[in-house]
Symmetry: C2
Subunit: 511 residues, 2 copies
């Protein structure tokens, strides 16, 4: 027996069963896989439901997804069976609201399309990495190919940028089936600019990539969350298109990052040649030990070592900057979402009503049978039609300008949301270094370790500076671009209305 925790609407023709919060169902099969379980409801109907929606053993504290069958099972499985699951790792995470996603929901209008399950995997990856003391003293790995050089450019420390930047195109989403048509999923074609050869990936694969990148680089670089997962409406055309656009934006941002784009795991994802290569690369990536704060052991700055006090000051400055920018971005998202609702809701309704009132006035005037008022009634009819057209233009406008402004700011909210953790890693390192003399006297480290420690924190600071400079140059590019696009569309919008009204005006008699 299990209790239903959340409403779930079955996707038609997909062997699913609709369930409602509070309902009690009998679990028939927990081994279906992919986060699905087979249940029977009180009236005897059978079907699949997401296991995360159930709490097995009424009154008990653990949901299905909290059992050892959840995340740990997936982590432990070495073969790729789970790879084909249609369920987008539903079982791996808890259910909770995510205000970033809410902001996006407002922008895209998806927010009203039914319950969407918001999953955050953006956990600080210290759990898998070593403790701060260990990474501060860790030796750089032998393989020099992995080293992350930091150069000094015009703007200060910078990453190594490849001569030809990577990009990719996500296209052609196709509905595929497995388990003899029992379950369906969407497969995207991803084509890297370097190979021009498409590889297939499901949302689940992007999510795997996100987890690997977060684990490996999350202490040093912002790895923003993927577009939100959604349980219902997954096969809705609008949803598929919107998700693809957001995956594209996410992938393009990762491609633009010199460290991420050149990493083995990212290259594997974009350029694997066959299933064998993919599976081997996947296993290797999952076994990678240079993850979490260990990434800093790869940093190789060409510039002089920094004083820990300077490191601390830079860290403080970036912390203030990212916090301030986060506040503004949130404010823009808030006002943008409010404005979106007004522009698609009451405002066009008013223009429509104004238009209809003019049209009705024309109809009544015609009914007067008073001779010679055709010019006025024709003009009134045209004015009415114009305002009804304006209503449509107003309602569709946010899709043309506000959407891009909101999407860009949502992306930046995601990026900025990663910085507090990056800055925390730096601060905890700064604190360790401050404490270095006590560590020496208590015999935990020796004096030569102190030298390594100061060098390592300097490397961390170069890494942060290179990343901030990367962030700034992208920010300038992105905001210049989004503001141009927004204003261009706004100019077109107002100009179009002015022109339409001018045409309507010309029909009235000049006095």
């Amino acid at each position: 027996m299990a209790q239903v925790l959340y409403d779930f609407s079955a996707e038609p023709g997909n062997n699913e069963l609709s369930i409602r919060e509070g309902e009690t169902v009998t679990v028939l099969d927990q081994t279906v896989g992919g986060g699905w379980v087979q249940v029977q409801n009180a009236v005897g109907q059978n079907g699949l439901v997401p296991e995360g929606y159930l709490q097995v053993g009424i009154g008990g504290g653990a949901s299905v997804s909290d059992t050892p069958d959840g995340r740990d099972r997936l982590g432990a499985v070495e073969d790729d069976d789970d790879w084909d699951d249609d369920w987008d790792d539903q079982s791996e995470a808890g259910y909770h609201g995510n205000d970033q996603v809410d902001g996006e929901g407002g922008a895209s209008g998806q927010g009203t399309q039914g319950p969407s399950v918001k999953i955050s995997l953006n956990k600080f990856p210290f759990s898998k990495g070593p403790s701060p003391e260990v990474f501060l003293l860790a030796k750089p790995p032998a393989n020099s190919r992995d080293r992350l050089p930091v150069y000094v450019g015009e703007v200060g420390p910078v990453w190594f940028y490849p001569s030809s930047p990577l990009d990719c195109v996500i296209a052609d989403p196709k509905k595929e089936s497995k388990l003899y048509g029992l379950k369906s999923f969407i497969e995207y074609q991803v084509t890297a600019s370097t190979t021009n050869r498409p590889v297939n990936h499901r949302y689940k694969h992007f999510d795997w990539l996100y987890e690997r990148l977060l684990e490996k680089f999350g202490s040093a670089l912002p790895i923003p969350s993927l577009p939100d997962k959604q349980v219902t409406g997954r096969f809705d055309d609008d949803f598929i298109r919107r998700r693809m656009e957001r995956l594209q934006a996410w992938m393009s941002r990762m491609c633009r990052h010199p460290v991420v784009s050149q990493s083995d795991v990212f290259q594997l994802f974009l350029t694997y040649r066959d299933e064998r290569e993919w599976k081997a690369g996947k296993r290797k990536a999952e076994k990678d030990e240079t993850v979490g704060p260990m990434i800093f052991s790869l940093i190789e700055p060409e510039a002089a070592e920094l004083d820990p006090t300077e490191v601390e000051q830079r860290c403080e400055h970036y912390s203030r900057f990212t916090k301030s920018m986060d506040d503004v971005v949130r404010e823009l998202l808030n006002v943008g979402t409010t404005h979106w609702k007004r522009c698609t809701g009451p405002l066009p309704k008013e223009y429509e009503r104004i238009g209809r009132a003019f049209t009705n006035l024309s109809t009544v005037f015609i009914s007067s049978k008073y001779p010679g008022e055709e010019t006025l009634t024709d003009a009134l009819t045209a004015a009415g039609k114009t305002y009804e057209e304006i209503a449509l233009i107003v309602a569709e406008q946010p899709q043309k300008d506000l959407l891009f402004l909101l999407e860009t700011n949502s992306e930046y909210k995601g990026l900025l949301g990663c910085f507090p953790e990056i800055i925390t890693v730096h601060k905890s390192a700064v604190d360790k270094v401050k404490d270095v003399d006590r560590l020496i006297s208590s015999g935990k480290i020796n004096t030569s370790d102190k030298k390594l420690l100061n060098q390592r924190i300097s490397h961390m600071s170069y890494s942060l500076q290179a990343e901030m400079n990367h962030f700034h140059s992208n920010r300038i590019y992105d905001y210049n671009r989004v503001m141009r696009l927004y204003l261009e569309q706004q100019v077109t919008f107002y100009q179009q209305i002015a022109d339409k009204l001018r045409a309507a005006l010309s029909q009235f008699t000049t006095l």
Copy 2:
């Protein structure tokens, strides 16, 4: 003792006393005049309050204004003492909501300036005129100067239009005092185009004129209500200006009416040369007996007599038309008022927030200290300023376009509100004529009366047709004019915003 029926806020420096609904006061002097009484409140403060706000004798059913001292007293007084009262006939009417005035309140924003007393004197004036039977058989008056000819023009029956149309200008409102400065009032200069000589009138005088016109012509012509009276804020500059504009609109409409503008009482109001002439004319007008349905005895059509069935059909057609137009005008007022609120309330606030968000983004970007982003931050600051300017433009726009659309439709609502009574007079006459054979057989009228009756109803129909044709030609002129003005201002509005945004856009770097 008297109970306070409504809150009243004293005008400062005017010897008035603020009172609150439900409060009990002692009436000290009911002979102050002009609708004012002197009262003392529970804490011993003395002052003047409008008598209509009090109910004398707690628990009794009659308010001060319902006593014989109210309207009847004013009607009976032959000298012009009441003429100098500063109180705009407050005591003559009951208090009730008036949805026309509500619409206007929304348009002008006066609705939120405190309680405004809405007074309707638009009673059907049968009370003063004779019964339908009498007026249908009444002989035309001897004075042929008063006759109202109806000609047949291109559009059908029309009034006699003077060769040079009358107009007047209301200007220069001045605050005047009387009773040795105890009470204040506003005096307007009214200058007729025919004399070019200003005469002084107070709102109270306009109200007197309105009552005379309503009494004399209300059965045949729409005499719309004056702009609403208001107890508080009477000396507020905005209120004085708005009231003057509406009095101007009302007077201009009356001037445009060939029957009203040529009447003795209207000419007296515009052209009296001295106090003596004014008082004599005023007394004469108040004694005029050709009022109410008696007005139809003055009609002299040049065309052939109409069949009562045709009269009935025309009457039905006008009834349907005016009803339909009234519905549309109300819808326009409703949507206009809603739109006004949005355009002056949440919409500019959103533009302001968008503008501030861009400005804040610029400020944060400047704080990054990243080199070479001045072009972006300058452009963002300019974009922010532009949206703050747009907020102001949006908030001020309704005063430039919607106001005139709403004012014109309010005027038409007032005009259309008069037609049901005009049509009722015609219908009751049609009913009498249908009953004519029974009236003959019962000896109430004779067969020669039947001829007169048919003639009289034909005259009434010519009057109604002439009036509808006057209404239609004014309607076409007014709606063409208001639509032109509205659309011109709307074009300017959207064009101005498009141009501003284009300038803001030009500051961003082309990619």
